[in-house]
């Protein structure tokens, strides 16, 4: 062997460190890979077919063995064949892909929600219990996790290749994706939408823990205040409770039980109240007047960060009847426990 052992070892190490196929670490991954192999098979067969046809004709009808060409107009039968068979195959790819797409973008009802805020050039994850992490994400195994994501500046895209999921993170609107991790370990998070100078530094790691380890992690990393509790403080400190007091005679509508309900708007339309609606109603209140109320609410555009909006939305989600008692709980104790959630102006 002419190859030196040192070089050989280096080469082996290099090859071992490189993968040709991503790990399958979520419930979606095997389904994605099945479609991938179908498409790969179709491509290989298609390419081989074309290469074989061209090669065989080139051999049989090259000038030296077939000096005079025989003219052929065409063949309706052949042309129909290579129209219909590819069309059929492509339609299979369409249906299969569509099923998978709807599965990845429609979270199951029992999923746990984690918020992701993207900004140049970091990912902030906010867990329901108030745990925050930057460029990291800890999730329990075997539990569907929904990510509700928003960008504070430009387009980003949240990608975890080993889970086979990805979704654009858009300024000004929530987007969601979900996964259920199957194997403990750490996996890459990439921002895949070009977002400026340090685009390639906008990376992170998702750590999949067993349910017990996850429980331990949540306890160790809690800030002491859940998102809803932060939201409650913000709701009071921004004076929302002055109008949305829950009182029937108040200037603003009661927000108890509003999340998930159907709302009749002043312009006659009916809307389903979800996170995106609540966020938009805070930022652009004039376009979302509840029927029976006057358009007096000022816009909060630029006065509240995406983090703060998430807190308030989470708080509103917890509200049920008669919340007047809860909303006055701005204790000095909680002031010390967590810094104010208003994180400066929203860009």
């Amino acid at each position: 062997m002419g190859i030196s052992p040192v070089l050989w070892q280096f080469l082996m190490k290099w090859l071992n460190a490189s993968a040709l196929f991503p790990r399958e670490a979520s419930t979606i991954a095997p389904q994605m890979d099945a479609l991938y192999f179908f498409l790969l098979g179709m491509t290989v067969v298609g390419v081989v077919l074309v290469v074989v046809i061209v090669a065989v004709f080139s051999m049989r009808y090259r000038k030296s063995v077939h000096p005079v060409a025989t003219q052929i107009e065409g063949s309706t039968l052949l042309e129909a064949t290579w129209t219909i068979i590819p069309l059929g195959l492509f339609l299979v790819c369409f249906v299969w892909g569509a099923l998978l797409y709807f599965r990845i973008y429609n979270p199951p009802v029992n999923s746990m929600n984690i918020y992701i805020v993207g900004k140049q050039w970091m990912w902030k994850a906010e867990h329901p219990g108030g745990q925050h992490e930057i460029n990291m994400l800890h999730v329990p195994m075997g539990q569907p996790i929904q990510l509700t994501m928003i960008s504070q500046d430009v387009f980003h895209s949240y990608s975890i290749p080993d889970f086979r999921i990805k979704r654009e993170v858009i300024p000004g609107r929530y987007s969601t994706v979900w996964f259920e991790a199957t194997t403990p370990g750490t996996y890459h998070i990439f921002c895949t939408q070009y977002c400026g100078t340090n685009h390639s530094q906008m990376i992170g790691e998702v750590t999949v823990l067993s349910p017990e380890d996850y429980k331990k992690w949540t306890e160790e990393s809690t800030s002491g205040m859940s998102l809803a509790q932060n939201g409650e403080r913000l709701f009071a400190s921004m004076g929302c409770n002055a109008c949305h007091s829950g009182n029937a005679a108040a200037r603003g509508p009661s927000l108890a039980g509003v999340f998930g309900s159907q709302l009749q708007l002043a312009n006659g339309s009916r809307v389903q109240v979800n996170e995106a609606y609540l966020r938009d109603a805070i930022l652009n209140p004039s376009q979302h007047i509840t029927a029976g109320y006057s358009p007096i609410m000022p816009t909060y555009q630029g006065q509240i960060s995406e983090d703060g909006l998430i807190d308030i939305v989470e708080y509103l989600k917890t509200l049920n009847t008669n919340y007047r008692v809860q909303q006055t709980l701005t204790t000095s104790e909680s002031d010390q426990a967590a810094p104010p959630a208003t994180g400066g102006a929203n860009q």
Partner: protein, 557 residues
């Protein structure tokens, strides 16, 4: 020629042959005679020189990108520089090379001759289109010299409107201006094809090259204005702060994506359709056969052009468009793949019972067929909704569109340049050297872009300056391939330049091809035909050609 010959090359006796004294090159002298010309052939040459310059500038950026990606660490250039490199590479290659490549050079040269006309319908607009191209090119170069631009060629808002301090406006203006050059070319082709066909040249006697250009011209004329509008809106938001795309001002950031891709997806077909036209001519000539299913190939060009306008949102599957609209766009994307499949099989079966020879243009055409098949089928991966989630915005998509644009279009361009080189210059290129270049290009291309498919499925994002170390092996392969590819592209420049002086005299019809352009002298006269021809046969009628050469010695000019 003996029956066992392996070439159709039919050159005049070199000891007596001469280049015709009177031709479009010698018709007038001096730089001004070129810069103020109305002759479509001279304008084609001006375009050929300018796009070649930009191709090598864009290629140099690609080389630097691949060199940086040799190692996982960001070590060759700074992140901002890297972002500028891929932006300039994309902008130059898309707008200053691929869009004008075949239509403005080979198309410009041949469309009037192929339909039997003396020039395009609007020679002055044709010249204006070249000047607009040059102005666009100079603006891009000035943006480059002043410090570059780092928006990516896609100008994604609000990044491009609010967050970057580079020369966005200069570059947007450049593309705006170059866009009009493309609109004028398209307009000229449409009018010429409708109004200036010679007697007897019915629609279904036109070469498929003309059909392909007709389809591409429709896209240029209808699509490019939308790009211009999007760029104006970017400028308005950037300069005056008008909230078109910025959500904080009530704008919609997705609107830009819709507008941009409404042009930029059809633009893919603007780039590929003329290339398909080249392949039809070359495959027919070197197998001595009519293109199999002429009508199907002609209509598939038009079908691609029409469907091409209704698939733009497949660039936005993960961007939060409604799941149901994604469904519609995915279905339409699958439909647009079918006409491309039809074309591939029609070309393959054109070989059946032919009398095939393997000159350089044919080698490039074979390369096109293989690589375009891969490029097309990997497009089906991306059109399949669920699969797109994993693959979009990764190296898979980079590999996919390079297979279509470089493996497909650039191969077709080189095929066409070699095929019509004797017509354009009157001289042959050196055959064995050019065969070597074709093979080197093919190998280099596959080595560069095959590993990127694997990288993409692994999840390596595109436009990354640094990457995790486990992706290095594949990146090294890709960079090695790019080096080979670079050699493959340098060779033609050298030997084609050499052939201008030392190439063999080609004669009128070295390939024994049937097109009208081969029935006139090489290089052609300024007015193409001394007498407007009368088309009395189908396209690709090799029996007519044989009859003609045996019984009537015609020589025009």
């Amino acid at each position: 020629m003996s029956a066992t010959s392996t070439t159709i090359l039919n050159l005049p006796d070199q000891s007596t042959a001469t280049i015709p004294k009177k031709n479009y090159i010698t018709a007038e002298h001096g730089l001004l005679s070129w810069l103020l010309t109305g002759d479509h052939k001279r304008i084609a040459m001006l375009y050929l020189i300018s796009i070649t310059v930009f191709f090598f500038i864009g290629g140099a950026f690609a080389g630097l990108i691949r060199l940086e990606l040799l190692t996982p660490q960001p070590d060759l250039v700074a992140s901002d520089t890297y972002n500028k490199l891929f932006t300039m590479h994309g902008v130059i290659m898309v707008f200053l090379f691929l869009v004008p490549s075949v239509p403005a050079t080979i198309g410009n040269f041949l469309i009037p001759i192929m339909v039997g006309a003396r020039d395009l319908a609007f020679p002055k607009i044709n010249l204006l289109s070249w000047y607009l191209y040059v102005v666009g090119g100079i603006l891009v170069l000035s943006a480059l010299v002043l410090g570059g631009v780092d928006t990516g060629w896609t100008f994604t808002t609000p990044l491009s409107t609010h967050y970057l301090n580079t020369h966005v406006l200069t570059t947007a203006t450049a593309i705006f201006v170059a866009g009009f050059s493309s609109i004028f070319t398209g307009l000229n082709f449409i009018v010429t094809i409708h109004r200036m066909r010679c007697p007897g040249m019915t629609w279904f006697r036109m070469p498929l090259f003309v059909w392909a250009h007709y389809a591409a011209s429709i896209l240029m004329v209808l699509g490019t204005p939308v790009l211009a509008i999007s760029l104006v809106l970017v400028a308005l938001e950037r300069v005056f702060g008008i909230g078109v795309f910025d959500p904080a001002k009530g704008g919609d950031p997705l609107l830009f994506q819709h507008l941009f891709w409404f042009y930029s997806h059809p633009a893919v077909y603007i780039m590929i359709l003329p290339g398909m036209g080249v392949i039809s001519e070359v495959v027919s000539t070197f197998s001595r056969k009519r293109v199999f299913g002429y009508t199907a190939v002609a209509f598939s060009s038009v079908a691609i052009a029409l469907f091409g306008f209704f698939v733009w949102a497949h660039h936005m599957f993960i961007m939060g468009i409604s799941n149901y609209s994604a469904l519609v766009f995915s279905l339409l994307t699958m439909l647009v793949a079918v006409p491309s499949a039809i074309k591939i099989f029609n070309w393959s079966f054109t070989l059946q019972k032919g009398s095939i020879t393997f000159e350089t243009p044919m080698l490039y055409a074979f390369g096109f067929m293989g690589l375009f098949t891969i490029g097309g089928l990997t497009g089906v991966f991306l059109g399949s909704l669920g699969m797109d989630i994993q693959l979009t915005e990764t190296y898979f998509i980079v590999a996919h569109f390079h297979f279509v644009m470089v493996g497909g279009m650039l191969m077709a361009f080189l095929s066409g340049v070699h095929f019509w080189w004797p017509k354009m210059t009157g001289r042959m290129y050196p055959e064995s050297l050019s065969k070597l270049a074709a093979v080197v290009t093919f190998i280099g291309f596959n080595l560069t872009f095959m590993p990127q498919f694997i990288l993409g499925y692994l999840g390596m994002p595109r436009r990354y300056h640094a990457y995790p170390p486990e992706f290095q092996v594949l990146n090294v392969l890709s960079t090695a391939g790019a080096t080979v590819l670079g050699v493959g592209y340098m060779l033609p420049i050298l030997y084609l330049a050499w052939s201008l002086k030392y190439g063999e005299i080609a004669g009128d019809n070295p390939w024994q091809a049937t097109g009208l352009e081969w029935q006139i002298q090489s290089p052609p006269l300024t007015e193409n035909f001394t007498e407007i021809p009368i088309m009395d046969h189908e396209a690709y009628d090799y029996e007519w050609l044989e009859h003609k050469t045996q019984h009537e010695v015609t020589h025009v000019g």
